[in-house]
Symmetry: C2
Amino acid sequence: MAALQRLQPVSHVAVSGGTHGNEMSGIYLVKHWLREPSALQRDSFSATPFLANPLAIERCVRYVGRDLNRTFTKQFLNSKATQDEPYEVQRARKINQLYGPKGSAQAFDFLFELHNTTANVGACLIASVQDNLLPMHMCHFIQTHCTLGHYPILLYNLPDQEAYSISSVAKHGLAFELGPQPQGVLRADLLTQMGALVACALDFIDLFNKGTTFPAFETEAYRFIGSVDYPRHPDGELCASVHSKLQVGTA
Amino acid sequence: MAALQRLQPVSHVAVSGGTHGNEMSGIYLVKHWLREPSALQRDSFSATPFLANPLAIERCVRYVGRDLNRTFTKQFLNSKATQDEPYEVQRARKINQLYGPKGSAQAFDFLFELHNTTANVGACLIASVQDNLLPMHMCHFIQTHCTLGHYPILLYNLPDQEAYSISSVAKHGLAFELGPQPQGVLRADLLTQMGALVACALDFIDLFNKGTTFPAFETEAYRFIGSVDYPRHPDGELCASVHSKLQVGTA
């Protein structure tokens, strides 16, 4: 990864929680920051917290009509409102209006998205393959400065695939995916870790804004190469599970 | 607890999974036993596996219309079918017809129910306070013979409260509540442990049927004395979580 030098400051920053309404770490962090915004303030900027999918949060479900985090493509963002469209298409347009428009000069400089998974991924940093330099330096800064865990990097989309997640409405973005955590459940350890990750990322932006130069580096990043299904019976039913030695939290 | 001697054998035994459609250990065990019933056979009887709430299992939700496991009271079981009644009221009547009727001489002798929870309860044995001698001896047998864990006993209903869970349609019943496991997720360790618990309980019934006498004993059992809510902000939002030192599976 090439060196990073400040051209324009990163001043308009937002942090979204609850893009999926049953991923509780980000939901509770954002609710906390809405009460006490000082944790998101740095010398050179303040980040804006917001809840992305209020109706799904209220119902504690991933989404109501369709997956909000697959709805930030130009197809949906530029579509005309219709009466029977899914709630999430309306929300995507609204979020694009507030923090975008996607691809425009008026868009926010940086948008964080906070996720949980039931999978044992630890704390995964997820970026778009098309949005490289700034988020990758942020990931590297987190990997070297945040000591609570190991932070693998995932590039979630393919090189020729439009970024479709909420952070793609801003100029740059990064998602934090922490697991394992059951849907609808809040674990204090992951809440603490996610708060520390956001704090570390905001520190990075502040250093960047103050003119710090970040030298070139090499790191490892994962990308999608294919899916491996579970073994199944002829009728499609699963006939195996993940081995208990590959689980955490074994009783 | 007084000594237990065989009067009538326990010959009609059923094992229900998926009373709640997103509690996967029991669902996958029952699906497995439906393919390979030999694991439920003993010299003196064979247990019948069944899925209690097929529609909720298909949708991977706790229930579709109302909580099936609060629907086995006489009020619901003796109600007349109506067009707009919840799916689970129909299912409760059907299950009562197959394995009950509740309170009758024709009812099955024993019904197991298999549950999971996201709470860190380990492997909890849950009985009705009105159905005491046989299930309590079974619990004691499990506590002394099953070495995979610690098995606390919970008496779930109050002395003057009608038993409302699925096992109450049979003459005797016991529920296994294993956690923590996310809803919709299958953990190999809990699957193994639940299978071992059922096997141990069936061994107990077989010994009972063969005339084994079980002496009196003392043990500890929990009962409901009250609820403690989370600390909340004035608007009702939670302002605390369970401390990470009280969690298992801390990353």
